[in-house]
């Protein structure tokens, strides 16, 4: 299974780290990467083989949407939809067009999410995967529309929905239109819920703001990847507000599990098998009713 990633270099995008991306923890383009967790030098070849998880300390590097997709679904099973929806600039917000263009070049994606149908160990699903490299995974009109389209496709095909999130929050450059995507996607999840379709949300590092406060938190089963920051308000905002230091591990996946906000924390290697089990159990349940 892990060989799939290594064997498909077109999906493995190990990027150069630029100065403005200090917070982007993806490995850089040299032969080796210094781990953000244990600070050891790890060969990129090893990292890629290990799904961009540090073999020494289990630190999880961030994945691009394409890489995430490659390690989650069956090879060649992806049938993309919604790829022809592009952000407009409804507010004519300063520099938005330029930022969009740069994000497109940088990620090779049209927007901060890719959506499609696929299979996971043979089980058919509708899947959406967000990409933090595209303007911080922020949700504007296109992300809102594509999430809604994915939900509608799930209802139509009765295939379970899997949304893998990473987001800094709302797309500020679309102002209130972006805030309203929270309402739009949550209303769509309600339709999915009423239709009785399984929805699994997988929150990865980081998932915050309007995405956490809408569709990502409304799934039947919520999985968080090990160590992921999951928040409504970011730690810096909280720190500024309360003016005291934050508790150890605050807003990390394990913290949310402890507080009853999510179903489980999984390391990257466990996600595909766990999804398969959930889909298998669910399918048995559904066919018993039919």
């Amino acid at each position: 299974m892990f060989k799939d990633l290594f064997g498909k270099p077109k999906y493995v995008t190990v990027r150069t780290r630029s100065k403005q991306e200090k917070e982007d923890n993806s490995p850089d383009s040299r032969l080796w990467t210094k781990c953000n967790g244990c600070k050891q030098i790890i060969f990129n070849k090893k990292l890629v083989e290990n799904l961009l998880v540090c073999p020494e300390c289990n630190y999880h590097f961030r994945l691009s949407a394409r890489d995430r997709l490659a390690i989650t679904i069956d090879e060649d099973s992806f049938q993309e939809f919604g790829q022809d929806i592009y952000s407009a600039d409804p507010l004519e917000f300063p520099n938005y067009k330029e930022k969009l263009a740069k994000a497109r070049v940088k990620t090779g994606l049209n927007e901060a999410i890719i959506t499609g149908e696929a299979t996971i160990n043979g089980y058919p699903v509708v899947i959406g995967v967000m990409d933090f490299n595209f303007m911080g995974g922020s949700m504007g009109s296109v992300v809102g529309e594509k999430v809604t389209l994915a939900i509608e496709r799930s209802i139509e095909t009765r295939k379970p929905l899997i949304l893998i999130t990473t987001a800094g929050g709302a797309r500020m450059q679309e102002g209130m239109i972006s805030l309203m995507q929270m309402a739009k996607t949550s209303a769509a999840v309600k339709k999915l819920d009423e239709a009785g379709i399984l929805y699994i949300s997988i929150m990865t590092d980081p998932t915050s703001g309007g995405v956490t406060a809408s569709f990502a938190s409304l799934a039947d089963i919520i999985i968080a990847e090990k160590g992921a920051l999951i928040a409504f308000a970011g730690p810096r905002v909280i720190q500024q507000t309360i003016n005291t230091s934050l508790p150890e591990g605050f807003q990390r996946a394990e913290f949310l599990l402890e507080h009853g906000m999510i179903d489980m924390v999984l390391s990257r290697h466990e996600i595909k098998d766990t999804l398969t089990s959930i889909l298998k159990i669910h399918q048995v349940g559904v066919s018993n009713y039919d």
Binding site: D84, S87, L100, E145, G175, M176, M180, S217
Partner: protein
């Protein structure tokens, strides 16, 4: 009232001081200067119209945040004939920053929800400056479900800088509480009428803000982020708040043009804080008018229309060549 005077209100206050002076001079000396007085009053009215017609967004925010701006409780007092406050989310606590209850407006029962700010520092501390915790949103949901059970319309008044960003709020699932409200409000089988009365601060506002009719008072604002935070994030410069405020398009007028809100409710001359009672009457009129229209719809029609209202929200292009960034993209790729 002599405190909290906004900069752009000063020339008006100077004029009204002059008017008072002239009045008492007339009374003292027994002179008839009523023509002068009339002229002065006309000038004051004209000046007020001019000032308020050309307010920039930061000035509108100042009015929206004015300490004397009517709060949820003020509106309750003015528009409800009967009102009973209801407390608690039945899970953790009672949030004083987001209040709720049931009452009668012109003999029509309503379930009420509203962020509650204080007017003094002490009040504001007890109300957490109108910034709700998850408990507030969960209380709101409990009351909305109750409204649905008893077929009562919901009136929701928004006035918050945002949902509270604190440790307890995160521990108890601020994001989940807001998300859950959005999901449930989208299918609630009774009318939901929403009015932004002051500050519409992002997700904390939206958490009780999904509805059939969304209205804003003339000098309120509704934004995805405060202009200060937006400027700090995008331009690393909170001094650019003025620019951010204009760019974000957060005034009632701008949001009406964008189709985010349905209606603007007029405020008394000089803003709601100059005449809270009149402001409340304008609000009541608009709410009852919207309710009468919504009450004609069946629950199914109501919920379907509400769904479509939000389903349609979003601006995007389905052709890369029409997408605004198309040209730039090509250049950069080459």
């Amino acid at each position: 009232m002599t405190n909290n005077i906004l900069d752009f209100e000063k020339p008006l206050l100077e004029l009204s001081a002059k008017i008072k002076e002239l009045q008492s001079f007339m009374d003292e000396k027994g002179l008839d200067l009523s023509e002068e007085l009339m002229k002065l009053k006309e000038r004051a009215a004209k000046l007020q119209r001019e000032i308020y017609a050309s307010l920039n967004t930061l000035q509108i925010i100042q009015i929206a945040r004015h300490p004397n701006r009517p709060t949820a409780k003020d509106y309750i007092n003015y528009i409800f004939d009967e009102f009973i406050e209801l407390h608690g989310d039945r899970k953790f606590s009672d949030d004083k920053a987001l209040i709720g209850g049931i009452g009668l407006i012109d003999n029509q029962p309503f379930t009420f929800l509203g962020h509650q700010k204080g007017k003094t520092t002490k009040e504001n501390l007890s109300r957490n400056f109108g910034m709700a915790h998850p408990e507030g949103y969960r209380k709101a949901l409990r009351l909305m479900k109750e409204a649905e059970k008893f077929n009562r319309p919901v009136l929701s008044l928004i006035n918050t800088p945002g949902a509270y960003p604190g440790i307890g709020a995160e521990e108890r699932g601020q994001a989940e509480a807001i998300a859950r409200n959005l999901m449930e409000m989208s299918a609630l089988r009774v009318p939901i009428i929403v009015v932004v009365t002051g500050e519409g601060g992002s997700g904390g506002a939206l958490g009780i803000g999904l509805g059939d009719r969304i209205m804003m008072l003339e000098y309120s604002y509704y934004s995805v982020s405060t202009p200060e935070a937006c400027a700090a994030i995008l331009w690393k410069d909170s001094e650019k708040a003025g620019e951010a405020a204009e760019a974000l398009k957060i005034t009632a007028k701008a949001l009406r043009e964008l189709g985010i809100i349905d209606r603007i409710i007029k405020e008394p001359a000089g803003g709601a804080h100059q005449n809270p009672q009149e402001a409340a009457m304008f609000l009541k009129e608009a709410v009852l008018e919207e309710y009468r229209a919504l009450s004609k719809l069946s629950p199914e029609e109501l919920v379907n229309r509400r769904y479509m209202k939000y389903r349609q929200l979003g601006v995007y292009s389905e052709d890369i060549n029409n997408a605004t960034a198309g040209e730039i993209l090509k250049e950069e790729v080459e």
